[in-house]
């Protein structure tokens, strides 16, 4: 019998849904093996259809997107109940992704920025969407972004923003065989095309931002540009570093490392080791945006309750 599969999006961008189509011709083989019972992006099954299913009816649910509204949370719980295996698919579901950066701010600050203090929005009546009484109900915007694991039990996670095709194919094969062990255990540097130029000891006076400096093709850290490679899980093959842009960390931390930002900061600490205070300060100041640099994809995991102020 064909395995029953569901794909759902919480607060995400749809890139994960597109990435499933991104296995291209192999999608036809996959469709021979599985039956899609719920996938709002590509099929017409509705919430009621899911509610009607017996508990455990779905073999594998792939949940992409983070938990930002009460609706995201309700559907995550509904799908958990209806599924044997629950997979966090992609960076939003596993790490919170860039929208986790919203946890640096209060919910009301966000609503005000969008609806009240916005130069193209006159909004004289000062309306903030909250629904229209009994007539139209909007799901509540939760105080903070959460990962899927912070809401329901997760059986396996597929990293990446979105998961690159080789990572996804390996994960799909494993999951369809009933295995939860997949993915690489090493850092991106291990498979980076610039690997041979990474020095044992990095010596710099300051960090440069990638728009400020011509790339000479060698290890970005050696050039003084922050590259998240040492703290990021391998699997993409170095797509960004091959294209002239440092890694920004979308694959999340290496397995067994919980905090990707701390892992990267400790790599940086080794650079400033034994430096005099003035030089050290110059390097730290040249980082500019600590949260957005080291926690671009994992702020939700770091700040599950939100409301953290970046004092850097």
């Amino acid at each position: 019998m064909k395995r029953k599969i569901a794909m759902y999006w919480g607060a995400g961008c749809g890139g994960c849904d597109v990435s499933l189509l991104g296995i291209h011709e192999k999608l036809l083989d996959l469709l021979d093996e599985v039956e899609i019972v719920f996938w709002p992006c590509a099929t017409d099954f509705k919430y009621e259809d899911v509610e009607k299913m017996e508990d455990g009816y779905i073999d594998i649910t792939f949940y992409n997107g983070a938990i930002r509204t009460e609706e995201n949370e309700e559907i995550a719980k509904l799908l958990r109940r209806k599924s044997k295996i629950m997979v966090a698919y992609g960076s939003c579901a596993t790490e919170g992704c860039v929208i986790g950066l919203a946890n640096l701010y209060d919910r009301e600050e966000i609503l005000n920025a969008v609806y009240l203090n916005n130069e193209t929005t006159p909004n004289e009546k000062k309306i903030i969407p909250r629904g229209k009484g009994e007539e139209v109900k909007l799901p509540e915007f939760l105080p903070a972004v959460k990962t899927l694991e912070q809401v329901v039990k997760v059986d396996a996670s597929i990293p990446g923003c979105p998961p690159p095709a080789p990572v996804l194919e390996e994960a799909l094969n494993a999951l369809l065989e009933g295995r939860m062990d997949f993915g690489k255990e090493v850092a991106l540097c291990d498979e980076c095309p610039r690997k041979d130029t990474k020095p044992d000891k990095i010596v710099i006076d300051r960090f440069y931002r990638w728009h400020e400096k011509e790339d000479d093709g060698s290890c970005f850290l050696a050039q003084g540009m922050i590259c998240m490679g040492p703290a990021t899980r391998a699997g993409c093959g170095g797509e960004c570093t091959s294209a002239g842009i440092p890694c920004t960390g979308c694959m999340g931390p290496v397995p067994k490392v919980k905090n990707q930002g701390i892992a990267m900061l400790s790599a940086i600490a080794s650079i400033i080791e034994n430096m005099d205070e003035e030089k050290e300060r110059a390097i730290i100041e040249s980082i500019n945006d600590v949260a957005g640099t080291f926690y671009k994809f994992s702020a939700a995991k770091l700040l599950p309750e939100g409301r953290f102020k970046d004092e850097s």
């Binding site: 017409d44 728009h211 945006d289």
Partner: protein
């Protein structure tokens, strides 16, 4: 009585439609709500400017190239670093590959199913049903050509989804001769695929069923789109042109001036705002010359332009526009098909241009300031506006995205279609799908629209005299 469709499906993002029926069971009003918000305007503050093309790509994984480019163009301006010719052409080539694969997605996986499959039950209304009906060869052609276009995006942008190479002042990676040769080959094949697609859809355009679809909704609105110096459609760069419902040019605006012409209205029942032409004003959800509501996307672009910039697509344009501007909402499909062909032809043209393999790919940035970036996302005009502080960090961000521009029109189209097809309280899966087919014309991307907040799906609850009377199943 209220009928809800939850979630609305075969689109990008969350949405819900609530339809209210009067005592006789006819449609009184309908709302298309977007119950999702993510807050990009807020959390982009304080970020490094050069991160914006990477962060804002995550507004939408279906059209990341659009946000990536709008961000890069806003930064070109903010850093006063106009990209060299080669960089501009590489960006435009990548951009046309994106328009191609995104339109192919809509035509064969999302909205196009309504046109190609007709009134079939929901189990068949998807790409698997489409392959069963049209054969595996059509399915393979779709998959192959979307792959070709995405491979071109990866070659130029570094990644298939969420590209990274557009930086302030240019791009981070040149194009090699080998890559160029491969792009030319793939573009040739894409042109043939687009021609074939037009043939397949035209098979439907000649049927009675198509006339019924065209009759579901007509809106006489203003239209907005980016045009080149000869007033032809251009997705990557140009001035913004606005035409009246009669097809007369009302404005032609430099991208940096666009925000002086638009304002956004807020309703309590949707997280997504309602933009309108400032000078004409917000008159509520009505069309016509006195209402500031405008439409964008394929129909908007084709209605504001005097032609297409490639030969075969221009032929289609002449046929489509022979009686002036087109107001039927299902006209979006023909417009989208001609753009599919145009994007393939333009890829071919740009790859054949020797400048594409040039070595001068970036201008180094100068002092940070303020910048506006405007592009045509597949779904319409997309505007990024940034203010940078003296360290080049983001101080303020305003984003007006394609689907948001169409928010008012989508609401009207859904209400009109509902009025046409729901009579005497009779509702079933096929009827509700006709209502949904009206919003799918726009290929809405509610992830984009809800960059600020969140997303909504579509369900059907029936409210009778103010109370939940029955929860309607779409397959009832």
């Amino acid at each position: 009585m209220k009928v809800s469709i939850d979630p609305i499906t075969r689109l990008e993002g969350h949405g819900r439609i609530d339809i209210f029926l009067d005592e006789k069971g006819n449609v009184e009003k309908a709302y298309t709500e977007v119950p999702e918000l993510r807050g990009f305007e807020m959390f982009c503050r304080g970020r490094k400017a050069e991160d914006m093309p990477i962060i804002t790509a995550r507004i939408c994984g279906v059209c990341p190239e659009a946000h990536h480019m709008a961000a890069a163009k806003a930064l070109d301006m903010a850093f006063n670093a106009p990209p060299p010719e080669t960089a501009k052409k590489i960006r435009e080539l990548l951009y046309n590959a994106y328009i191609f694969y995104d339109h192919a997605l809509h035509l064969y996986y999302l909205g196009g199913i309504d046109v190609l499959m007709g009134d079939v039950p929901k189990e068949e209304r998807n790409v698997v049903g489409l392959i069963k009906k049209f054969g595996i060869e059509v399915g393979k052609g779709v998959i192959k050509h979307r792959r070709y276009a995405m491979e071109i995006v990866k070659m130029l942008g570094g990644r298939e989804i969420h590209p990274v190479t557009a930086i302030p002042g240019g791009v981070s990676k040149p194009v090699s001769e080998e890559e160029r040769a491969e792009i030319i080959k793939k573009a040739e094949s894409c042109i043939e695929f687009a021609k074939k697609s037009i043939e397949i859809f035209k098979g439907v355009f000649e049927t009675k069923r198509w006339n019924e679809m065209l009759g579901l909704d007509t809106l006489k609105t203003y239209y907005m789109g980016v045009v080149d110096s000869k007033n032809r459609v251009n997705y990557y760069d140009g001035d913004v042109r606005v035409v009246s419902p009669e097809g007369k040019e009302v404005y032609k605006i430099k991208p940096e001036g666009i925000l002086d012409y638009i304002e956004e209205h807020v309703e309590e029942w949707s997280y997504v705002k309602f933009p309108y032409l400032k000078e004409i004003g917000w008159k509520g959800l009505v069309d016509g010359k006195d209402s500031g509501i405008y439409r964008v996307g394929p129909l908007g672009r084709v209605n504001v332009a005097d032609g297409m910039n490639t030969m075969l697509a221009n032929k289609e344009f002449k046929e489509f526009r022979k009686n002036g501007v087109v107001h039927e909402t299902f006209g979006y499909y023909h417009a989208r098909l001609m753009e599919l062909l145009n994007a393939a032809e333009r890829m071919h043209e740009l790859a054949n241009d020797d400048a594409i393999v040039g070595g001068d790919i970036r201008t180094m940035p100068s002092e940070p300031g303020e910048g506006v970036g405007v592009v045509e996302a597949a779904r319409g005009v997309l505007i990024h506006h940034y203010k940078l502080d003296d360290k080049g960090l983001i101080e303020n961000v305003n984003l007006i995205v394609a689907t948001t521009n169409n928010n008012a029109a989508i609401n009207m189209s859904v209400a009109n279609a509902a009025r046409k097809v729901i009579k005497g309280g009779k509702v079933d899966d096929i009827i509700l799908n006709k209502v949904e087919s009206a919003f799918r014309c726009y290929d809405p991307c509610l992830a984009c629209a809800s960059h600020a907040l969140g997303e909504t799906p579509i369900i059907a609850n029936i409210y009778w005299k103010g109370k939940l009377y029955r929860r309607l199943k779409k397959d009832a």
